[in-house]
Amino acid sequence: MIELKKVRKNYGGKVALRDVDLLLPRGEIVGLFGENGAGKTTLMKCILGFLPYDGTITLDGEPVTPKNIEKISFATSEHSFFPGLSPKAHKDFYAEHFPKFSNARFEGLMDFFELPKNKLLKHFSVGQKNQFEVILSLCQGADYIIMDEPFAGNDVFNREDFYKVLLGILEPNETILLSTHLIEEVSNFIGRAVLIHRGEIIGDVSALDLEESGSSLIDFVKNTYNYRSDRVSKTLEALTGKKE
């Protein structure tokens, strides 16, 4: 379990995370939603130890250190692979550094996405790079897989197929924390939704609770954010003088 207690992060005078409390138990697929600048990426980077913060973050009861960091993998739209290496060379690098690296999963996903194994990553398309980034995070052998906007630039067919494959291959003890703007698209894939707004967790609901309440994920997000559905018509009316 990853546990965040009173996590606070400031950039200069600006508060990026405000006393965040969050539990990520094993085996959950958690969607992390929020507007641009809400603090999603900062939250993830704090978990990974990339940024200093106030408060405590524990991984299975221990602080996140090089001793246990291999339990967490990370896929980011910024990409964390080496552009000058091929997928095969990445496989060797990961296998050397991460003892639980899954070769079978790597080969399976490479075949699924039909990615070339000997071409340098810098010659891949953006979509292919994203796919490869996600593959690495899933094959590392981590218990907690953190994904920050991993599908930006991928076409919808690839994404949908990928969700299906992902649900099929995930082990019961694997946890995913997925940050994305594609709320409707992942609504059938995630088991829990966490909403962050201006550095604060403002909503946390399980898919089961949503189902029982008869509400959809997108409605939950809109309600939590106090989304004003009339703002489009009001703006158009003000600009054009026409009533809708």
């Binding site: 291999e70 910024e78 990409h79 964390s80 692979f81 080496f82 552009p83 340098l120």
Partner: protein
């Protein structure tokens, strides 16, 4: 002899051949530059003598050889400049992990936390030491030439001490 696998000592995907090529060319150029000591020394030594009847050389009375450090001049500067470039390479290796992707995220997540620093520091520091050692070896060789081939009575005292005083 088996060629050492330098890729394990540089950032993954980094063009180690280009870096090695730069270093070897730089080292060769530094060596060639240092060889300019020889004509400098010959010229200074020549000034100690007068030529009699176009063939016979006679040592001038009271002649003083120019100090070793003076003849050495800038001849070893190639090694020093290359050594500084190698230190600059360290920065380049770290920046590499932010270029075109953020591979720094992966390097920071490795269970072996020293891996990033090993790959960024190992070769530049080795190359830096090779430069400094090469410069020192050439200094010893040239000092040996100076002390061996210069008439003893022409050598000013404290030559060895003067080297360190005049070193950059």
């Amino acid at each position: 002899m088996r060629k050492p696998d330098l890729t394990r000592w540089t950032p993954p995907g980094f063009n180690v051949n280009a870096e090695a090529h730069f270093f070897i060319v730089g080292l060769a150029a530094s060596f060639l530059l240092s060889l300019t000591f020889i004509p400098g020394y010959s010229s200074a030594r020549k000034c100690l003598y007068i030529t009699y009847q176009s063939t016979e050389k006679i040592l001038m009375e009271g002649a003083r050889m120019a100090d070793f450090s003076e003849i050495l001049g800038f001849t070893l500067y190639g090694f020093y400049i290359l050594a500084i470039c190698m230190l600059g390479m360290i920065i380049f290796h770290y920046i590499y992990h932010y270029k075109d992707s953020k591979s720094i995220y992966l390097m920071k997540r490795l269970p072996k936390s020293s891996e990033l620093h090993k790959r960024c520091l190992a070769l530049p520091i080795t190359a830096f030491l090779i430069c400094i050692i090469s410069a020192f070896v050439m200094l010893l060789v040239y000092f040996g030439i100076y002390m061996t081939f210069t008439p003893e009575q022409c050598i000013a005292p404290d030559q060895w001490q003067k080297i360190w005083r005049d070193l950059p």
